[in-house]
């Protein structure tokens, strides 16, 4: 946890400084009538810088490394697979469409991550895709992304 706090503290500090400096450089701090569009962002950046510094100091003082926060081994692989599959689904959304994408996504995760049987996998995947289609496309008239075959 301590090393995570150090990384988070440093990243937040950099973000805060960039946020405040960017506000002053690009936008108006004080206009003719009063505070401009840079006013609040500048102060928010400043407050965040102070908070991040406090986090860094606290993390520096603590000597124990603290418990690990990321899982290792199998847990990490599962996590990476879920995030990766979701990202691929979203990236390909406009190409393969929501319905086919949903079926593929569910099959990948249920069959290869969780080792569900094929009948359960196929059944759930088709049911969820159909439910999604009926509720959003038919009922709510949300034009979900379509792929080949207009699905």
């Amino acid at each position: 946890m301590r090393s995570a706090d150090r990384i988070a503290g440093a990243a937040l500090l950099a973000l805060a400084v960039g946020f405040s400096a960017g506000a002053l450089k690009e936008y108006t701090y004080w206009g003719e009538n009063g505070p401009g569009s840079a006013f609040l962002p500048f102060w928010l950046g400043l407050v965040m810088a102070v908070l991040a510094a406090m986090l860094l100091v606290g993390a520096w003082r603590a000597s124990d490394p603290g418990p690990a926060w990321l899982p290792s081994g199998a847990g990490l692989r599962r996590l990476a697979l879920v995030v990766g599959a979701s990202a691929a689904f979203v990236a390909l959304l406009n190409v393969i469409g929501m319905t086919i994408g949903t079926v593929l996504f569910l099959v990948v995760l249920m069959r290869f991550l969780d080792r569900q049987s094929w009948p359960v996998t196929i059944g759930v995947a088709l049911a969820v895709a159909a439910l999604n289609y009926v509720v959003f496309t038919r009922w709510l008239h949300v034009p979900l992304p379509t792929g080949p075959f207009g699905l």
Partner: protein, 503 residues
């Protein structure tokens, strides 16, 4: 009497067949969401919000409010049967509820929780009805400085009570405010922090953020663990669920105390149901004649906190409706929904949209009755839902998160954004930051900025304007206290640790 006229207006709205159907759906889906581990009330409300866009706002909020009440009860089922809270307001219920289940009294624990929730919810709605109009009238006198001071108080108190450390709570909150700055500035028209990306110029919508932080964040936290937990077997006949005379004698004052305590804590901006359950449990243990039974299956330990969380969920509606300040993460998401429907929560809501406010209040009565009926009659059905393996549930939740984020503006960009916030939500959860504080700040940020700048424009003494007007100075002092109290407590703890090390 305009009070009764308002209430009958409310019931005429709430009792239309469509709204009744929406309340039923809300309660059933709510109990399921509350019961399923890995998906809590904020993600449930965020996921269902897109479904309500096609509806009339009144029907939409009726469904969401019924859903919220349902989740409060649903979380109890998992706490009692698998010793895993479905959501944070049921953590305390695990202590004695699971012990009762091990002693073969799962039915009694679930039964008393349902009855306590019903009583607390119903009394909570009566209080909501009595308190809100008065508060709304009072806050009608608010100018920009009072509004800003109130928003500041809401932001500081939410950080006070969520997350593991106050510092990380504040970091989450300020990060939320920074994200709220992205997009066109309403006063000057500057496209702030958009880096020329058209999607960012419109600002970062809270819905994809909320779905990501809560929905995906929770799913990822569950994904790294394989397998499920064992369910305690139990019978759920009428006889098992109805409390015995002895149970009732022990629980009734616990329910009464939990109701009052829960409602009061719920009204406080930022406090919310979870805190009320911890306070109620501590209170019951203190006033009990046999405190040694707590932790061994004392029924008061279930009745008190379960009543408190339902009363608090109702109480949290008070600041949301009258002041536009949410009392919990879930009401923060509902508040965002209200704003999307073009309703401006706050004092004017009661005057301009009476059918909305009173329809919501009346439907809360109906939702409570449904909750009692559904939760006692259909407990076996909801228990069966717990048997759905997480490996099937998790990919399904992700699909609904993706569709929900997309449906807001039919934008794949929003979906990507949702996923990014999902990973952030996972990290925040793991590292002890507060996704609730971030979401709240994102919703309140634009309102706070406008009030702040308007105040400074009309002020001739700079920030002095906040400290010269009576209401705003009180609110500012309260906000200051909310910052200082945990800071001082942290200092004292550090000093104590240093003293221990020196000794």
């Amino acid at each position: 009497m305009d009070f009764l006229a308002n209430l009958s207006l409310g019931f005429s709205v709430a009792l239309t067949p469509f709204n009744l159907l929406m309340a039923t759906c809300g309660v059933v889906i709510g109990i399921l969401i509350g019961a399923l581990p890995g998906i809590g009330p904020p993600s449930g409300v965020a996921l269902l919000l897109p479904l309500t866009f096609g509806m009339d706002p009144t029907s939409g909020i009726i469904m969401l409010a019924a859903l919220y009440a349902g989740t409060m009860y649903g979380g109890t089922i998992t706490s009692v049967l698998i010793n895993t809270p479905g959501e944070s307001a049921s953590v305390v219920t695990c202590i004695d509820g699971y012990q009762m289940a091990l002693q073969g009294r799962a039915g009694a624990a679930l039964g008393i929780a349902a009855i306590g929730s019903f009583i607390a919810g119903t009394i909570g709605v009566v209080l909501l009805m009595l308190v809100s109009p008065a508060l709304a009238r009072w806050s009608l006198a608010f100018g920009p400085p009072e509004t800003f001071a109130l928003l500041l108080l809401g932001l500081t108190t939410v950080t006070l009570l969520t997350g593991e450390s106050a510092l990380k709570g504040y970091i989450s909150m300020v990060l939320g405010l920074m994200i709220a700055m992205v997009g066109f500035d309403v006063i000057s028209g500057d496209p702030r922090y958009a880096f020329g990306v058209p999607e960012l110029m419109d600002g970062i919508d809270f819905l994809p953020v909320a779905i990501g932080l809560f929905g995906i964040g929770e799913v990822l936290a569950g994904a790294e663990e394989a397998g499920g937990s064992a369910l305690v077997k139990a019978r759920y006949g009428w006889r098992e669920i109805m409390p015995t005379a002895r149970d009732w004698a022990r629980s009734r004052w616990a329910i009464a105390r939990g109701t009052v305590l829960g409602f009061l804590v719920g009204i406080l901006p930022g406090a919310g149901p979870t805190v009320s359950t911890f306070l109620s449990y501590a209170l019951e243990k203190k006033v009990s004649k046999h405190p040694e039974e707590f932790g061994q299956g004392a029924i008061e330990g279930v009745a008190g906190p379960e009543s408190a969380n339902n009363a608090a969920a109702t109480g949290a509606m008070v600041p949301m409706l009258t002041l536009g300040i949410p009392g919990s993460a879930t009401t923060a998401i509902m508040l965002g929904g209200l704003m999307m429907w073009g309703l401006r929560p706050g004092p004017l809501l009661f005057e301009k949209n009476p059918q909305f406010v009173w329809g919501l209040i009346a439907s809360q009565y109906i939702a409570n009755v449904m909750l009692l009926v559904l939760s006692t009659v259909f407990i076996p059905l909801f228990v069966r839902a717990l048997r759905v393996p997480y490996g099937i549930l998790m990919p399904m939740i992700i699909v609904f998160c993706i569709t929900g984020a997309y449906s807001l503006k039919n934008s794949v960009f929003d979906v990507g954004q949702m996923l990014v916030f999902g990973v952030l939500g996972y990290a925040m959860k793991k590292l002890g930051y507060s996704p609730a504080a971030l979401t709240l700040a994102l919703v309140l940020g634009p309102l706070a900025e406008r009030a702040l700048r308007q105040s400074l424009i009309i002020s001739d003494s700079g920030a002095g304007i906040f400290f010269t007007r009576p209401i705003s100075v009180v609110l500012m002092m309260a906000a200051l206290a909310a910052v200082l109290v945990p800071a001082l407590r942290g200092l004292a703890a550090a000093r104590r640790r240093a003293a221990v090390r020196a000794a």
